[in-house]
Structures are given as structure tokens and as C-alpha cells.
């Protein structure tokens, strides 16, 4: 599903990712860990062609990401749902409208959108909060909103960039339960985190990045 082939990404002269080789299979759940600055976010940004690799090849399904002509980028991005580290919610739109964005983009009708968003709000435990604006929700609730938005258009891959980043432990477990459920429904999930407690508790594959290099890749399944 995802393949990195000797990928190097440099910002200036220092590499954020250094000779990364890895393969992630369909329907896998993978933790991407490592300290801040290890290159986790860069890894995700490369996958959705928000950045271009300095060297190497990246494949998502049968798409050669770096070679993709720019008019095909939307096609790639529709395959991948992302929970951004900085959320990227639109503050002047309601929760409902935020979750509806990917559905609007793929051209769903208003009634289809309504049905799907209600379903998603229920799934992430936010039923009834659709009319609120982002500033009226807690951090944990906002994380759920971005998860709902990320999976709205049924992507094959879900990338979650530190979705429990600044949440208390109880709320974090709620998020983990949700991501596991999404994975069980058949979505490939890659989650970046440096919360080792969570990584240890879930028996999943763990890839450790340090200064842009893969230092460990433990398959636990």
C-alpha cells in the first residue's frame, strides 16, 4: 500500500528523513514513533505530496507520488485521510461543515452529505455538536472532529499525526479506541506519536525514527 524506497528529504543541508526504506501493507496499523524533530510529520507530508522528496521513490498503491503530475495530486489526496498535527480546522465553519469538506470536494449531494456527517458525528461520539463552531469544543472533541473529517470520504489510508498530542490519558484512550475501530473496518492506519505508554499497550507494529533514520521496525502481529 505504502512504499518508501531510499527516501531522503533535506531542508537546506540537514536531512529530516535520511535514506528511509519501508513498506506498509494494506489494512495494517502502524505506530511511527520518535522524539520531536525525528521526521514523523515530514514522512506524512511526503506521502500526500505536500513536500517532494530530495531523493528516492514513494509509492501509494500504484501511484508514484513524486512523479505525479500536479493535476493528479487531488486524486492521491482523496485516497489518504489525514489528522493533521495542527488540526487545520476552518474556524469560521461549523463542526458539521468542517466534516463535510471532503464530501463536498468529491461532489456528494447535500442529502448524502447530511446522512454521512450525522453517521460520522455518531461514530466519533459528537452527535448533536454539529452546529457548534470549533472554538466551542474541547481539545479531545476537536481531535475527534478531525478524525471524522479524515475518514469522511472513506480513504484507504488514515494518517494520524500525534492525535493524542496534548490530551489527558482518559481522552487519549478514547481516541485510540476510535482509531483501532477504523483500522478494523479495513483502513490502513499510520499513527505518529511519542506516547510510549499507548504504543506499548497496543500490540501493533512500531517504527522508530530518530534524526530522520529508521532505528527500529518491530512487527508484533
Amino acid at each position: 500500500m505504502i512504499k518508501f524506497d531510499k527516501v531522503v528529504k533535506k531542508f537546506g543541508s540537514t536531512p529530516a528523513l535520511d535514506n528511509v526504506d519501508l513498506e506498509i501493507n494494506d489494512k495494517e496499523f502502524v505506530f511511527l514513533t520518535g522524539p520531536t524533530g525525528a521526521g514523523k510529520t515530514t514522512f506524512f507530508r511526503l506521502l500526500i505530496r505536500d513536500l517532494l522528496p530530495t531523493k528516492g521513490k514513494i509509492f501509494v498503491g500504484d501511484l508514484d507520488v513524486a512523479k505525479l503530475p500536479s493535476h493528479k495530486i487531488p486524486h492521491l489526496r482523496k485516497k489518504i485521510g489525514v489528522v493533521f498535527q495542527d488540526l487545520k480546522l476552518l474556524l469560521d465553519r461549523t463542526i458539521f461543515e468542517n466534516i463535510a469538506l471532503p464530501l463536498e470536494i468529491i461532489g456528494k449531494t447535500p442529502s448524502e452529505i447530511k446522512r454521512r456527517v450525522d453517521e460520522l458525528l455518531f461514530l466519533v461520539g459528537l452527535s448533536g455538536l454539529g452546529v457548534r463552531f470549533p472554538r466551542e469544543l474541547s481539545g479531545g472533541e476537536l481531535q475527534r472532529v478531525t478524525i471524522a473529517r479524515a475518514i469522511a470520504a472513506d480513504p484507504q489510508i488514515l494518517l494520524a499525526d500525534e492525535p493524542t498530542g496534548n490530551l489527558d490519558i482518559g481522552t487519549s484512550w478514547g481516541i485510540m479506541k476510535l482509531l483501532s475501530e477504523i483500522n478494523e473496518r479495513g483502513t490502513t492506519v499510520v499513527m505518529a506519536t511519542h506516547n510510549m505508554e499507548i504504543v506499548a499497550a497496543l500490540k501493533k507494529r512500531k517504527i522508530v525514527l530518530d534524526k530522520g533514520k529508521i532505528t527500529k521496525d518491530e512487527k508484533r502481529i
Binding site: 487531488p74 492521491l76 489526496r77 469560521d92 465553519r93 470536494i105 468529491i106
Partner: protein, 290 residues
């Protein structure tokens, strides 16, 4: 398309002051451009009318025969510079004289057809060509005298030329200013929504999906401002025009047909759409990374 309309409407509704400022700025620019265009068109019509007015008149000797006169007329026509001819025979001249002086018996008795000369009044396509036509007339042996007010003609020619240069320059300047105003406003609107654009892109929205709401917004401002200023200038231009005429032209009226208004408003709308398109495209592209 419908969702683009919704997005446009949301942009406008959620920042009404900016939208109002955009509309006011564009409307006032449009208003000036339109009034100028109208006065420009009106005075062009008027000036070309005026240009054909000044005449040079040849008074014929008594012995001039009709065929000689016709020959002269043909010669003038052949120059390609004459706009119109008016031949006044001795009898017609007398009639005109009588009409003009019908209240004065003494003057009427003094004059017979014999002493009034026949004449040919010629107007030129271009004022500047009148001296040349006068020269042709003077060289004819049947012509007694040639009369034309050279000073008036020269001054009028200069005035017409000057007016054209100035109005053309101003019209171009205002046109450019209108395009830049639209560009600026749309860029501002795009800038305000740059986070939204980035997010939409990352969620997989295509270029056009993002572009449409801004384009529609620009088109909305363009159409609204053009129509509104069109209506206003329909009422205001005649006032300005009459002021303009009073200074320069006295009795003549500035003829602006309704069709001209429609053309000006129509081109204003097209211009608004075009400027919005260019402005929107440039602005959106600046915030979309390839």
C-alpha cells in the same frame, strides 16, 4: 457549481464589511469610468458632427454657367475631402434674403436676384482639410470670392484634437485603475481565506474547486457594481454633459442614445468579469503550491 455559489455566499456573509468595502470601491471606480466613457462617446459623436459643420463658401461670377459649377463640384468631390455640398442659385439666394428681411420694405426693394450671387457651400470631412478645398475653389475662374472663417476653423480643429487626446488618455488610465482595483480586492479576499485554501488543497480539492468561489465573488462584485453605476450614470451623465456643453458648445445637445448606455453597462459587466477572472486566478495561484 451550487456548492461554489454556497461558498461564495458564505464568504460574503461572513465578512460583510469587506464585501461592502469591495462593492463601494468597485462601484465608485466603475461610476467614474462609465461617466467618462459616456461623455467620451457622446462628445465623439458631437465632435464628428461639429467637424462637418464649418463650411467654405464660393460666390460665383454672374457669367458662371451651370456646367462650370458642376465641373467645380466634381473636382471638389474628386479630392475625397468634401463631406457635403449645398448649391444656392441666384433665385434661392433672393428667397433667403427676402425671408430674412421680410419686415424691412426698404431692404427688400433694394435687392433683386440679379445682384445676389449664386454660391456653393462645401463642408469637409475633416476640419483641417477646409483650406485645401478653399484653394481649389479660388483657382476656378468662375469663382468671384471664397469665404471661410480660417481662425475659427483652426481653433476648432485644435480643440477637437486636444479633447480627443485628453479623453483617450483618461479613459485608458481609468480602465487600468479599474482592473487593478478588482485585482486588489480579489487578492485581498483570497488572502483572507488562505488557510481555507491550503486546507482544501490538502484535503484533495482541485484547483478549480478552490478557484470558483472567488471567481464568482469577483463576478458578483463586478456585475453588481457595473449595473449599479450604469443606473446612476444614466441619471447623472446628462447633468454633467449639459454642464460640459454650456462651457464649450452653447446650444448644441450631447446625443447619447440609450443603446450607448446599454453598451457601456454591458462592457462594464464584461470588464468586471474579466478583471475578476484575472485577479482571482493570479491571487489563488499565489496561495496554491503546485
Amino acid at each position: 457549481m451550487k456548492s461554489a455559489f454556497n461558498a461564495t455566499w458564505r464568504h460574503i456573509r461572513r465578512s460583510p464589511y469587506q464585501a461592502a468595502a469591495a462593492i463601494i470601491t468597485m462601484t465608485s471606480t466603475f461610476l467614474v469610468v462609465m461617466m467618462f466613457a459616456l461623455i467620451f462617446l457622446g462628445s465623439t459623436l458631437l465632435l464628428s458632427h461639429l467637424e462637418s459643420l464649418p463650411q467654405v463658401t464660393a460666390f460665383f461670377r454672374d457669367e458662371a454657367k451651370q456646367e462650370n459649377i458642376d465641373a467645380l463640384k466634381q473636382q471638389l468631390e474628386a479630392s475625397g475631402k468634401a463631406a457635403s455640398f449645398k448649391f444656392v442659385s441666384k433665385d434661392e439666394a433672393l428667397n433667403i434674403y427676402r425671408e430674412q428681411n421680410k419686415n424691412d420694405k426698404l431692404l427688400l426693394e433694394l435687392v433683386t436676384a440679379e445682384i445676389l450671387p449664386a454660391s456653393l457651400e462645401v463642408s469637409a470631412l475633416k476640419v483641417g482639410d477646409l483650406p485645401e478645398l478653399a484653394e481649389i475653389m479660388k483657382q476656378s475662374s468662375i469663382v468671384e470670392d471664397v469665404v471661410f472663417a480660417r481662425d475659427v476653423v483652426d481653433k476648432l480643429a485644435k480643440f477637437i484634437e486636444g479633447t480627443r487626446v485628453i479623453t483617450t488618455a483618461l479613459a485608458i488610465l481609468l480602465f487600468v485603475s479599474l482592473v487593478f482595483t478588482t485585482l486588489f480586492i480579489i487578492s485581498l479576499r483570497v488572502f483572507v481565506h488562505k488557510d481555507e485554501i491550503e486546507t482544501m488543497r490538502l484535503l484533495g480539492a482541485g484547483r478549480w474547486k478552490i478557484f470558483w468561489p472567488f471567481l464568482l465573488e469577483g463576478i458578483f462584485y463586478g456585475v453588481f457594481s457595473a449595473t449599479f453605476s450604469g443606473i446612476v450614470s444614466f441619471f447623472v451623465t446628462p447633468l454633467v454633459a449639459s454642464f460640459y456643453q454650456d462651457i464649450f458648445l452653447g446650444v448644441l445637445t450631447l446625443p447619447i442614445p440609450v443603446v450607448v448606455y446599454l453598451i457601456v453597462v454591458g462592457s462594464g459587466i464584461l470588464l468586471g468579469i474579466l478583471a475578476s477572472f484575472i485577479g482571482g486566478y493570479i491571487a489563488v495561484n499565489r496561495y496554491i503550491k503546485a
